[in-house]
């Protein structure tokens, strides 16, 4: 779809990545620190949009489009819809953080250790995760996703995909059961 890609390689890719990553991290921090739920939701939308841009940088425009439609467009609207019905005055007074800082530090330490493990090479030159070669195929992306899911022979992710939607069904049933005592 983009014949110029080979002639003009993408410019300033690292800077775009750092910019987007910074937006995502700041947005993520704002989501948990804002007391006003609507502000949190707006910060979450910013994070999701920056994530969609990251997908675009990875030459996965289809995933980026779906991210915008489903998360930023669909789910966040429902989020806001629900949040607006909550009394903001009462939520402002509520305690925002619990006192589980010991567990928190342990979890953060483990995650940090994992990050360090990923980026360190052992003495015999091996890494924990093999570095994959990045291939730039923008044109076949939409078809590629469909092939991975639905192709008769290559489609290996169909089952996982359907199981994931079953999980959502479980969540919906759970929500109905919790919200309505008598059905």
């Amino acid at each position: 779809m983009n014949p110029s890609l080979t002639a003009n390689p993408p410019v300033a890719t690292p800077y775009f990545f750092y910019g987007l990553a910074a937006i995502m991290i700041i947005g993520g921090i704002l989501v948990i620190t804002r007391k006003n739920a609507v502000h949190s939701a707006l910060a979450l939308i910013t994070t999701l949009l920056a994530q969609a841009a990251l997908y675009l940088m990875l030459y996965a425009p289809f995933v980026a489009g779906v991210q915008i439609i489903l998360y930023a467009g669909g789910i966040m609207v429902l989020f806001l819809f629900v949040i607006m019905l909550i009394s903001i005055e009462r939520t402002m007074k509520e305690r925002q953080f619990n006192k589980q800082w010991l567990v928190g530090i342990a979890a953060a330490g483990t995650l940090g250790g994992l990050f360090i493990a990923v980026y360190t090479t052992t003495t015999n030159g091996r890494v924990l995760f093999p570095q994959g070669a990045v291939s730039y195929v923008e044109a076949g992306n939409t078809q590629g996703v469909a092939n991975l899911l639905f192709h008769r022979f290559q489609g290996t992710y169909m089952f996982a995909f359907e199981i994931a939607s079953l999980l959502l069904l479980v969540a919906i049933i759970g929500a109905v059961v919790m919200a309505k005592k008598r059905i």
Binding site: G65, I68, I69, M76, V77, L78, N141, T142
Partner: protein
């Protein structure tokens, strides 16, 4: 200096969109052209809507500012810019400030992929139609936050209505769009989501998708045409801003410049969804009857249409110049209208120049089809009473959604009928 000129000229030989060619200069030019064109279209729509609605209700409409109220939109814009910008004391100032910009950004960004011609688009994306649907659905966030941030009852109810309405009609809209995209996969190049690709697939199949698998294409188009009115919050689905119930709905507390941003966004969103409908079902930039009336002679004849349209408008204008009152007080107005007619005639004549004629044909047909939709929007507003909220939900979930699902399955069956028949035959032969 030479290198710059070469860079600018190099694009003119290619048959790509500026985005695909990676040409910064022409991409900027196209963006500016689309932006200016859109702003002019919104201004024109403002005047046309007031005039057409007035004539439908046997009124005159704006007549004071300029001949036949032609300068009314400019006067309105000046008034809006000079108005005091009020932020209510109890409002959430930051969100109140951001909301109009979210709406405007969503409404304008969409035009990046709108194909005015095979090369006349800012860029062509692999995911064009998904991008348009996704970004235009972001505008509901602006409306919801605007209603909430106002911290007032009517805007909040308007925002709640708007989010419920947009989420429910998006589903039906998506189903209709998917059925059209499935039709693109029947051409030799395979299916595509790119806006230019969709029109080219209609060209390759020698059929606008509205007539494909009659009446399936027509039904899909009808679902989209209903859902798009609801998506843009226009009458008869204008519940989020129902004047008689909610004062002005979600933008009750907005004034001046910020209010005009909502206005701008509403009209450009209308143009955007109309151009999706035109691209998917009405053959985009293709002129009417390319399969029946083909050949150089017919191409020649159809290429005169843009110029003829403007000459026709000029003739109507001059007819009204003659009809102006002969009183000395109307002298300036008469001259102004004559000048406007002369301008229209001049544009018409320029459009007859062969060099221009060959290049604007596709843009003309695209814009003409979108303009028909814009007239329909005004017509709906003049004709239909507003739906009640439960009726709105009923239409969305109980009529459009099941129809859309059935349509999707039928389109798939019709598209695969050769393969299905072959399989059935195989089973019987065993």
């Amino acid at each position: 200096m030479n290198a710059i000129i070469l860079y600018i000229k190099s694009y003119l030989d290619s048959d790509l969109t500026p985005g695909a060619a990676g040409n910064w200069f022409w991409a900027t030019v196209y963006i500016l052209l689309v932006f200016v064109g859109l702003s002019v279209a919104v201004i024109a729509m403002n005047w046309l809507e007031r005039k057409i609605l007035a004539h439908m209700q046997v009124r005159l409409g704006p007549m004071r500012v300029g001949p036949h109220g032609l300068l009314q939109p400019i006067a309105d814009a000046l008034k809006l810019l000079l108005k005091e910008d009020i932020i209510p004391a109890e409002a959430d100032a930051v969100v109140f400030w951001i909301a109009p910009f979210i709406v405007v950004l969503a409404a304008f960004t969409v035009f990046v992929v709108v194909p005015f011609g095979p090369t006349h688009a800012i860029t062509d994306m692999n995911i064009g139609i998904l991008f348009m649907l996704g970004v235009s659905s972001l505008s509901v966030l602006g409306i919801v936050t605007a209603g909430w941030a106002s911290n007032s009852h009517y805007p909040l109810i308007g925002a709640l209505r708007s989010s419920a309405q947009m989420v429910s009609y998006e589903v039906a809209m998506g189903l209709a769009v998917v059925s059209a995209i499935m039709m693109t996969s029947l051409s030799a190049e395979g299916g595509t989501l790119s806006m230019i690709g969709i029109v080219q697939s209609q060209l390759a199949q020698q059929e606008w998708f509205i007539f494909k698998f009659f009446p399936l294409g027509l039904i899909a188009f009808a679902i989209f045409a209903i859902a798009m009115v609801a998506e843009t919050n226009r009458a008869p689905f204008d519940l989020p801003e129902a004047e008689s119930e909610l004062t002005a709905g979600f933008h009750t507390e907005y004034s001046g410049f910020r209010w005009s941003l909502f206005f701008l966004a509403e009209y450009s969103a209308m143009i955007a969804v109309s151009s999706i409908a035109v691209t998917l079902w009405l053959g985009g930039w293709l002129r009417p009857f390319p399969n029946l009336l083909h050949g150089d002679t017919w191409d020649q004849i159809f290429s005169f249409f843009p110029g003829l349209t403007f000459l026709f408008l000029a003739v109507i204008t001059f007819y009204n110049v003659v009809r102006m009152p002969q009183h000395p007080l109307f002298k300036i107005q008469t001259r102004g209208l004559a000048g406007f007619g002369a301008l229209l005639g001049l544009i018409g004549l320029v459009l007859f120049v062969p060099v221009v004629r060959e290049r604007v044909g596709d843009i003309f047909w695209f814009v003409a089809k979108v303009a028909a939709f814009m007239y329909l929007y005004i017509w709906y507003r003049g004709t239909f009473p507003r739906y009640r909220f439960d009726q709105l939900m009923k239409v969305g979930w109980k009529v459009l959604l099941p129809t859309g699902l059935a349509l999707l399955i039928l389109t798939a069956v019709f598209g695969m009928r050769a393969e299905l028949l072959a399989q059935v035959k195989e089973v019987f032969q065993r």
